[in-house]
């Protein structure tokens, strides 16, 4: 689930729960999640496509 998909889903759920004012806080979290996912310490993936050995730590910037 991408941060955009998550935001859409969470906002819809908040609306169903009668919490439309939650949207601003959720938008902040979506931006923060995007930053975390873009950080290189999270750049490992299950495909091994990044060329690193399994279980190897992300390199320091």
């Amino acid at each position: 689930m991408t941060p955009d998909d998550w935001l859409e889903s969470a906002t819809a759920d908040a609306g169903r729960r009668g919490l439309p004012d939650l949207r601003a806080a959720l938008e902040g979290l979506a931006r923060a999640a995007g930053l975390l996912r873009a950080a290189e310490w999270n750049d490992d993936d299950a495909s091994g496509g990044n060329g690193r050995d399994a279980g190897a730590p992300a390199p320091a910037r």
């Binding site: 919490l19 939650l22 959720l26 979290l29 931006r31 999640a33 930053l35 996912r37 950080a39 999270n42």
Partner: protein
Amino acid sequence: MTTAAPLPALLDLARAIRAGGTSSQALTEGCLSRIRERDRSINAFITVTADAALEAARTADAELAAGRDRGPLHGIPISIKDIFDVAGLPTTAASHVRRGHVARHDATVVARLREAGTVFVGKTNLHEFALGTTNEESAYGPVHHPLDPTRSPGGSSGGSAASVLAGMAVASIGTDTGGSIRIPAAACGLVGLKPVFRDVPTQGVVPLSTSLDHVGPLCATVADAAAIFRVIADAPGFDAASPPAVPSGLRLGVPRRYFFDLLDDEVARAFDDTCVRLAAAGVVLDEVVIPHARDIAAVYLHVALTEAAAFHSRTLESQPDDYTPTVRMRLEAGRYVLAEDYIRALRGREVLRREVTAALEGHDALLLPSLAVPATPLGAATVRVSGVDEPVRNVTLRLTQLFNITGHAAITVPCGTTGAGLPIGAQLAGRSTPGLLAVAGTLESWIRGQAAGASA
């Protein structure tokens, strides 16, 4: 705008009690008198324990007269944030959610302070459940800055800071999850200490975020903070009375990148002046870098809100309308965090911890401003800084939350005032709490600009 009078140091008052210049009863009566005079407009206290305080003060005086001296805190009137359990009193956390609660036991910190002979004058107002930096969202109303009632004293331990600045307590005990001791201490011209994570027990404290919560003092001087830390901490062997060394030979790391990107002009000038004074005293200042500093807020948000939501999930369902609206929304947002993003934040936390440790390598401490802006106006959603309107919450947390993420010790010391007389603080961060207190104690007079020969 009121001008701040110099605050009496706890240790000076302790000496005065022993020299017969004052008594615990006189100090306590003075604090209670100022509470009666000023707290209707400041609103620092949720509960005032006048009768119990006077009784404890008389007991302290009798014990000291009989030769039983429990140490420097004996007979000193202090306040405590209303997030700590005090047996027989409500722990409101400034929320209607806690309506009807009465603590059965003292929090560990309260018990230690009581054993040290401290006198509790009352429990202070805070940002509801400590989830905010302005003290505006409280079931008991906002706290007003003692120097300017149109401004916030900072938060979440805002009532604590205001009570000390207004002379309603000699010191206070607060909690710090993202800066909640250091932010109000800086805004009110106090020393505020966030010890190393788990140096001070949190048993009996209403949690906000269990892996970020810290307990520490707000007070007049670094030596006062050391004396309180010695009583409340699990730190055997720490000598709070050790004499300060000379600053020559100390080496500090200054992380300018990111931390100076959003800084009020007067805060920047006061901090730069502090650096000049320290350099003139022989302190070596090196620029250091926290490579992933731009990710601090994202890591913090995911850890803090997720842990807070876990604690509040039941009452968010059963008593949603008992929360103030903004705090409720923050907590509700935490319930939507994906587990995978929380794990990513925990990885980021380890990266940041290693980077702070690396920046400290070869340095006695890190030095940076405590609060990017002076005390903010009550009711302001944003504050203009570096030509940009930024949310108050983001700006006020910006320089402090890193050390909650990493668990390093951090302390704010007053370093100047704005043209309007609002206090500005400088922050030191270090590996160990006793080590940081020693460095801060050594540098305090230079940071404040009070050292002999220091430029004004």
